[in-house]
């Protein structure tokens, strides 16, 4: 009957309640968590930039690594930058195609097969293997027989990247909606055709950015390189033989040196490494955006 009497004083305001208080508390907690999360990041960036920025110059990026006793104004990190690029590139060439193909097998072909389950499980286990163990592994199966080389370092980094690439690619392939696959099958496409012409293009942005994140992660690894490439002070253009060096190994060596000049060069190397990782992230973002244009 009440509805028939027309206008009523309807109160749509929220009554003061415990729910509202809970909401406020949760919001404050989340904001606090966010601030706490970015404090370390801010500190790291601030410290590295304030200590490393002043040394960065063209000469620093290209010059050869001087003896530790020399002051910061002399020499640079050229061999380490070249080594990092060589070794990471080689590791990428080995790990990314293998990882992407593995993920394609797991998601598109494996199904519920035992082999797929075993590979998926092993890949997850491999993600958890400490990087120094990976370095020791390559040391024992490769370096002991063939000596130190950029290739040995790349093998260790590749082993680290592989499970990351498999996992990120697998997740991206899983996101490709089944109706797209069905549409392609319904036009008479074979499984390989569906994978190459529909699934991979739909997932390529995520696959590429996942791979680049793995590259950035590998470029910053120190431990696997300690036993595989040694640390030298001259450029080694041959990645397949002879000891090499890299930014992380050089940072490690310089940071443990007592000389001020060497430490300053270490900070510069740290900043360079962060910059390389940062550039890779931006490239990953751009690629994702580029490939997403048909998804809008």
């Amino acid at each position: 009957m009440a509805a028939m009497t027309g206008q009523q004083n309807v109160d749509l305001r929220e009554p003061p309640s415990w729910r509202r208080t809970k909401n406020r508390i949760a919001t404050i907690l989340m904001l606090t968590a966010f601030v706490l999360t970015i404090i370390p990041l801010g500190f790291v960036l601030f410290t590295v930039i304030s200590k490393g920025a002043s040394i960065i110059s063209w000469q620093f990026l290209t010059g050869s690594i001087p003896p530790n006793v020399l002051p910061a104004s002399v020499g640079g990190m050229g061999p380490a930058i070249v080594g990092t690029i060589e070794i990471t590139a080689l590791a990428t060439v080995m790990a990314v195609p293998l990882g992407v193909l593995g993920a394609i097998y797991l998601n598109e072909y494996g199904g519920n097969r035992l082999l797929a389950k075993v590979i998926g499980f092993m890949s997850d286990v491999m993600t958890g293997v400490p990087s120094i163990v990976m370095g020791l592994f390559i040391f024992s199966i490769w370096v002991l027989h063939f000596g130190y080389s950029g290739l040995a370092g790349a093998l260790a980094l590749g082993c680290l990247m592989l499970p990351i690439v498999i996992r990120s690619t697998y997740e991206m392939l899983r996101l490709v909606p089944d109706p797209l696959r069905e549409a392609s099958y319904a036009l008479g496409a074979s499984k390989a055709r569906v994978t190459v012409t529909v699934v991979l293009p739909a997932a390529i942005g995520g696959i590429v950015s996942g791979a680049l994140l793995a590259v950035a992660r590998a470029a910053g690894e120190t431990a696997p390189l300690l036993f595989t490439i040694l640390t030298v002070t001259t450029v080694n253009r041959n990645v397949f033989s002879g000891a090499n060096t890299s930014l992380p190994s050089q940072i490690f060596a310089n940071a443990s040196s007592p000389y001020v000049g060497a430490q300053a060069r270490g900070w510069g190397a740290a900043l360079t490494l962060i910059a390389i990782a940062f550039i890779l992230m931006i490239v990953a973002r751009l690629i994702t955006a580029r490939f997403a244009r048909y998804l809008r």
Binding site: A183, L187, T197, P201, A202, L295, R296
Partner: protein, 296 residues
């Protein structure tokens, strides 16, 4: 029906020799099979998902150049039966077909039959529009391309003809190279129909093609079905009984058998007849209850 259609198409693309056009549009099926000949013949077909019997004992004949509608309540297996007609159920792990399915006299589930070859002749349009995340052009050209068509001129022709058949050409001719996902829902569904028609299938299976569309888009697709049925055989699953009466020549009514003991539901074909007969004078009381709205 055949004559004016060819004339119209030849007129539209007057720059091309008319003779070639006529060759292009003459449907390969039309010449060799008299209208009304049976396209599909199923005998005692049961479909299982693992050990669960989803549909049991379906026997029906689907005739050429007719629109056959599958109606029935949810869960009665209409879609499952539809998907056995082009072996889409092969993609579902554990799905299995018993009984005989013949396509133009050839057993569809014989060992040496390639599902890929089957689906090239028997296309499918899905419930939800599922254009590829590619341009409008690439969506339509997808099927011809996987069949090996690389000639740009012929692809252009096929794309235009298919989009015209799907009554979409005028709306998209200025945005052929923009994403297919930028179209409205009704346009996307017509794009999917154009994509299916581009490979010139013999049969078009439609799985509730209008359920996600508004009445105007639905009307456009129903008109389109009437126009293309002179060249294709169409089987449509629909929830909408008015739609079945409007478009179809024959209707199959499916229902659900509920097994109280195991609490499983199995689809069963109740009645299959000319649409007018089935709706006005059904033989089975369950059909009568359903079409008069007293059940389901």
């Amino acid at each position: 029906m055949e004559e004016p259609e060819q004339y119209a198409v030849a007129n539209r693309q007057s720059t091309e020799p008319a003779v070639q056009q006529q060759l292009e549009v003459s449907p390969e099926s039309g010449a060799s099979f008299a209208p009304g000949e049976s396209v599909f013949e199923t005998r005692n077909v049961s479909i299982f998902y693992s050990s669960f019997r989803a549909v049991t004992d379906v026997s029906l004949t689907i005739h050429e150049h007719e629109i056959t509608a599958f109606i029935g309540p949810s869960g009665c297996g209409k879609t499952t039966v539809l998907r056995t007609l082009n072996r889409m159920n092969d993609l579902i792990v554990g799905a299995r077909v018993e009984g005989e399915v013949e396509y133009r006299g050839a057993p569809l589930y014989a060992k040496d039959v390639s599902p890929i070859a089957v689906r090239r002749r028997i296309g499918m349009v899905f419930q939800k529009p599922n254009p590829f995340p590619k341009s409008v052009y690439d969506n339509v050209a997808y099927g011809p391309r996987i069949n090996g068509e690389r000639n740009k001129g012929r692809l252009d022709e096929i794309v235009e003809r298919s989009l015209r058949q799907a009554a979409l050409w005028d709306e998209v001719k200025d945005r052929l190279h923009k994403s297919g996902l930028g179209l409205s829902g009704g346009q996307q569904q017509r794009l999917c129909i154009a994509r299916t028609l581009a490979v010139e299938p013999d049969v078009v299976l439609m799985d509730e093609p209008c359920s996600a569309l508004d009445p105007i888009a639905t009307g456009a697709i129903e008109d389109l079905m009437q126009e293309i049925k002179s060249k294709y055989t169409i089987v449509i699953v629909t929830h909408n009984m008015q739609q079945a009466t409007r478009v179809s020549d024959r209707t199959a009514f499916f229902s659900v058998l509920i097994n109280e003991q195991s609490d499983t539901r199995t689809g069963v074909l109740v009645e299959y007849d000319r649409t007018a007969k089935l709706f006005q004078d059904p033989r089975d009381s369950r059909t009568r209850a359903y079409v008069t709205g007293r059940m389901g």
